[in-house]
Every structure is written in C-alpha cells, then in structure tokens.
Amino acid sequence: MRKKVIFKGIALPWLLLLPQLVITGVFFFWPAGQAIYGSFLREDAFGLSREFVGLENFRDVLADPNYLAAGWNTVVFSSSVAIGALGVALFLAVQADKAIRGADAYKTMLIWPYAVAPAVAAVLWLFMFHPQIGLFGKALNGIGIRWDYKVNGDQAMLLVIMAAAWKQVSYNFIFFLAGLQSIPRAVLEAAAIDGARPVRRFWTIIFPLLAPTSFFLLVVNIVYAFFDTFGTIHALTQGGPGQATSTLIYKVYVDGVQNLNFGASAAQSVILMAIVVALTAVQFRFVERKVHY
C-alpha cells in the first residue's frame, strides 16, 4: 500500500543530497584521507622533507609496549565511563520520573553539567581531588588514606573515569528521562494491579522498553569515551603518572601535537578509526538484534 515517490531525472536528487555529501566529504573523507596518506610518510615538523615509509609507522606503533598499554587503558577507561555514566544516569532518571516535589528543579540541575566544557569539568574535579588543595583530596589524606593521583596510577585512572563519566551523565539522563516518559502509564499500572513490585516492573517492563534508548546511548557513550575525553585527561593527569591514564586518543594528541611526530600520530589515528568502525559495526550487528523498537 506504500506510495512510492520517484524523482524524475537525476539532477534533483543529487542536488538535494549535495549539502550532506559536501559536509561529509569536507569534514570526514578529506581529513580521513589525509590521515591515511600521512600514516605512510615520515616527515620533519616543518614539512620540508618527506619520505614514504610504507607500513613502518604502523609497525613501530604496534611494537611499542606503551601503545599496547594505552590500548588496555582505553578498554578500562571507555567501558568504565560508558557503564558508569549509563548506570548513574538511568538510576537518576528513574528517580526523577517519579512524582516528587521539585522534580523540575531537580531535572534542570542534573542537566547542567552537560553545558560544562570538558577541560572546565576537569578543573572542577582537580579542585575537589587535588591531594594538597582539593577539598576531598585533603580530607582523604586527613583520614589516613594516601590519596595522591600524581604518583598512584590507579587513583589517577579512577579520577579521570569519574570526571569523564560525570560529564556524560547529564546527556544520558535527558535521553533516559524522555524514554521513560514515553512508556505508557497504562502498562505500568496494569502490572502494578497484577501485583508486580517496583523492581520487577523495572526489569520486566521499563528496561526492555528503554532498550532502543539504551542502545543509542551505548554507542554514543563509547564514541564519547574514545574521542571526547582528551580534554579531561589533558587537564587532570596529562596521561600520567607514567602512562597510567594515557588512552589511544590522548596518545594521538601527544605524538602529533606535542611531539610533532606526524607519521606515528597519523598511523595511530587510522588504527583508532578502524577500531571505532569495527566496534560500531559489532554493536549494530549483535547488540541491536536484542533491541526491540
């Protein structure tokens, strides 16, 4: 019964597609192509000499134990950030969805952190957890816990995870709340009349009905943890101590912008791009099957 609309000729459809194609071309394909090209080169910072080295940059990068360690850091960091941010946001959204006094104010406050730039968020956390000048940092040391993320890699990792996840909670919260509000009340009330307690109602009705939202957020959060957390790490730990909080994206920055090693940086970008493409493909292929729209 569906009515099919077919354009006559080829010019109009292309014209309509053109803006999108231009944007994708300029902002994705062109830089991505440059990165791939650059990953086969070795050049000095000023671009005065250039040597084609084939896959040497990739070989060097993959043979570097620090790069492999950064890969592991990224796994720990990204999964913790995604799970933490999603879990906390879901909990808060469920609470905010209840009929409580001042719900609007509460919701507004939860959305605020999203408007904070990553570097600023990091500075806020720095002021809270700096071992000497931070409120909580000083308190922790005061009660005998040796808190010093500058010489303790695990604590540093915990700190960047918290700071990065905190920022993403608001975003997730908005989506979860919208998802919750679109669940028909009648279904929940029917379950309540049948005797289902809140926890059971949550896991058998709300959670499955939220699945499309959750899946979307999972993809977004992983991409966020991979690509957008550079500012947070830079402002908090600069990848240290040692390279305990150095993730793949942070290494791209350090090698490309700080160390002016463009070939290695480009090779890392290409690897990172491949990882994210693969990860997203996996998510759509396997996780999405379990999602009911």
């Binding site: 000095d44 000023f46 005065l48 000497q132 500058k150 600069q238 040692g242 490309g256 160390n259 002016l260």
Partner: protein
C-alpha cells in the same frame, strides 16, 4: 591532528582576508611584522609594552606582538603557519624547542645571517655565557635572539628552618646537607620537607650541568644530530635512587610534571622547592612567611660549575616553505632585536619580572642602582651568581642542551621517574628505560632531518 588542521585553516583564512588590505596600505603605512609570543599575563603585557615602545621610537616598522598560547602551543602554531605559508616574522620559542628550530633548515633565518645582511651590530660578548652558548652554534655564531632567560634555584621557608633548628641564613651546599635538613624538617613535623618543579629540568638537566657530567654525547647534542643520551650514569642513578627513597621516607614529595609543583611552596606546604628563578614573583606575592633563595646543591666531593638556562628566545622565521622574507622585513626585525638588546630594556625586564638580566651591562646597571641591597629584593642576584659559578668557564656539559624532540624526551624522563615513584621500577631502571626510549626519539629526529 584536528586542532592542527583548524589552526592552519584559521591562519590561512585570516591571511586571505588580510592580504589585500595589507597591499593597499603598503605605500604609506609602516611595514608590519608579526611577532608571536607565549607569555601569559602579566609577563605577556610587559613584553607587548616593549614592542609598543619600539614602535613608538620610529615609524618605519610596526611589530605586531600577539599571544599564541603557551610555549608548546605557540611552537605548534608557528609550525602549522609555516606549512600554510603564513609564518610570523618572529616567534618566541622555549628553550627545549631550540634543537628542533636549529634543525629547521630553510624554515628559519639564523640570527647571524640576519645581522650580517642588515649590517646590525649586537655585542654578544656582553651576554652571559650561559645565555649566549645556549642559542649559538659551536663556532659561536648566534642562531636566535636571547630574551627571557631564567635558571633554577632553590627557595626555602625560613620559618620552617628555624623550627627545625636549621640555620635559616645558609642553605646547604650539598645534597647530603639537604637530606639531613629534610630529615630535621620531617622530625619537626613538616609534612613535605622538599619538592621539585620541572622534574627533568631540575633533577636531570641542571643536575648534570652543575656536576659537569654529560647529558648526551656530542656535547649535549650541540655537535650534531647523532647524539645519544648519557643519563644512565652512576651519579644520576644514585640521585634517582635517593629521590625514590626520599619519597618513600616522606622527605621528598613529587608534585607533578612541569610547573605543577610550583603551588606547593608559596602556600607553605613544602619547606624547600627546587624551581625556576621565575617563581620568585609568585612567591613574593603569595607567601605569608619569610623565605630565602639558595643555589642548587651538589653531591659531596664535587665543585659545582654554572647552571644552565631555561626560558625562551626569539627566532626569525621565513614565511613558508617557498617564501623568504623581504629585505625590508629583515631590517625591521634586526632593528627590533637591537632595541631589546639595549641595557636599559634588558635591565627593566629583569627587575620587573625576575628573569635574568641577559647582559653583563644590564646586570651592572641594576646593581649600581642598589636594587639587590633592598630587603625586598634579597636573593634576586642568586640566579645570576649561580650562572657565573665556576668562574664563568663553561664546559661542554654546561653550555646547554640541544637535542631534537627534546619536548618528548623531557616527558619520557618524567614518566619513567613517575613509574619509579609508584614502586614499579628502581631509579636505575627508570634511567635505563628513559635512555632507551629517548634514543628512539633522537634517532627518529635524526632520520627525519637527515633526509633533507
């Protein structure tokens, strides 16, 4: 990568809009020379004032001084601009970027060429040897214009010293003395007896210079791009092992990379800090206790020689890979350099900021005014005396450091040191790993720059 692209794009855009206007104005207006610097306020404003004074002194050239972010950001911006054919005429480059700039071939205009072509005379014999040596070739020809130079010293809390029954008027001359003092401070209840800012600069670079041991072969890289790190030596191993042991004992606290530890002294947290002499201004403003300035200590049995400098110098850049500067622009740049070399300009910069007076004449001029005898300025001459320690006879170990990719090597050393502080490795392993990783950087740099 992304940021770099944006920056290059922004530079290209700005240039595109600016060019026609510039061409129109050329006939009447003075020649504009872009000058990018990396000094935050209040220092940046003082530097811009110097450019403004120069502009007011004549009407043929206009130096357009603009802030481009921190030193590393300025460096990256200048390099991106060069690749886009829009480099500034003058760029302020921090001392660790010196090796990269020296190897930059036709991206830069060496200072000695500039001065010769424009018939400008600046008396570099009057410059402090440590300053001159850092920015010159081995044969003495200057490559960049020295400007804001600092060195490192130790600041200590006199109240804390008194409470620990230590002499507040004499800082220990040896590390053994410092260790004993730290132990006394700890016994007197001080939670953080000592810390260091700029861990690599202080504990490796300065340490090697004043102990007169090489940091790298080829005269610390001055002799060629094939230099190799020599930091894995018995004296540094001993020092690193000490630092790690002191950290564990609570005598030393690692305050973070680069200048992160600076904050720990003015607030009274740490009783001693090894830091840039430029920290003085902040301490004067913030510290609520009497404090003193001491020279960097050495291990017993060593006669200390001069310390090396940090800070930045001014480099002349060509516009792009295929665009040289016009004779007119070069003339303007040379005259600006002659302006900042004047003793009164150098002296004012020194007294305003706490950076070193780069010339002897400027130093004498300031001394003649009785500046150092005023109580508020006590110890302000310690950095200069330390620069001249050992009779001003520099060795190839104390001339300075000229390694390619040195920004990265500094980070590597800090990272390995941090791993040692975490207990993941000994001080010796930290130095061995830093040497291996640092040499990879040096070899890459050599290869990238040898192809030309």
């Amino acid at each position: 990568m992304f940021r770099r692209t944006i920056m290059a794009g922004a530079v290209a855009l700005a240039a595109g809009f600016g060019a026609p206007a510039q061409a129109q104005a050329q006939a009447t207006a003075p020649t504009e020379i872009q000058f990018w610097h990396g000094l935050t306020q209040p220092l940046g404003g003082m530097l811009e004032q110097i450019a403004a004074d120069f502009n007011a002194s004549q009407n043929r050239y206009r130096i357009q001084a603009t802030f481009r972010g921190s030193y590393p950001e300025t460096m990256v911006a200048a390099i991106a601009a060069f690749r886009a054919g829009q480099a500034p005429g003058i760029v302020q480059m921090f001392e660790v970027g010196t090796g990269t700039m020296m190897a930059a071939g036709r991206a830069i205009k060496p200072l000695h060429e500039l001065l010769a072509e424009t018939n400008t005379r600046i008396d570099f014999q009057d410059y402090l040897p440590g300053v001159r040596g850092y920015y010159s070739l081995t044969d003495g020809r200057m490559m960049s214009m020295p400007f804001n130079s600092s060195t490192s010293v130790v600041f200590y809390n006199k109240d804390a010293f008194r409470r620990a029954n230590l002499n507040p008027d004499a800082f220990p001359e040896t590390w053994e003395g410092v260790e004993a003092a730290a132990r006394a401070l700890k016994a007197a209840g001080h939670a953080c007896p000592m810390t260091t800012a700029w861990p690599t600069w202080l504990m490796v670079e300065q340490f090697s210079a004043i102990h007169n041991i090489p940091l790298a072969t080829q005269a610390n890289g001055m002799g060629g791009l094939n230099a190799e790190l020599r930091i894995n030596n018995p004296l540094l191993v001993r020092h690193f092992n000490n630092l790690v042991a002191w950290q564990r004992e609570g005598l030393f606290r690692y305050g973070g990379r680069d200048g992160a530890a600076d904050a720990l002294f003015p607030n009274g947290e740490c009783a001693m800090i090894f830091a840039s002499s430029g920290l003085r201004a902040r301490i004067m403003r913030e510290a609520q206790f009497p404090w003193g300035v001491g020279m960097l200590p050495v291990y017993q049995g060593t006669t200390p020689i001069n310390s090396i400098i940090g800070g930045a110098s001014f480099w002349v850049m060509n516009r792009g890979p295929n665009a040289a500067r016009s004779a007119d622009e070069l003339q303007g740049i040379a005259q600006f350099f002659a302006w900042i070399a004047r003793p009164e300009v150098a002296a004012k910069w020194h007294t305003d900021t706490g950076f070193l007076p780069v010339t002897r004449t400027a130093f004498e001029q300031v001394r003649a005014t009785g500046f150092y005898n005023q109580p508020a300025n006590a110890g302000a001459d310690v950095p200069i005396q330390q620069m001249l320690r050992g009779g001003g006879q520099m060795t190839e170990n104390s001339m300075g450091i000229r390694l390619g990719g040195f920004v990265e090597i500094r980070t590597i050393i800090q990272e390995e040191l941090e791993r040692a502080f975490q207990g993941q490795q000994t001080g010796e392993q930290a130095l061995a790993n830093a040497t291996t990783r640092g040499n990879v950087v040096l070899r890459n740099f050599e290869r990238q720059n040898a192809a030309r």
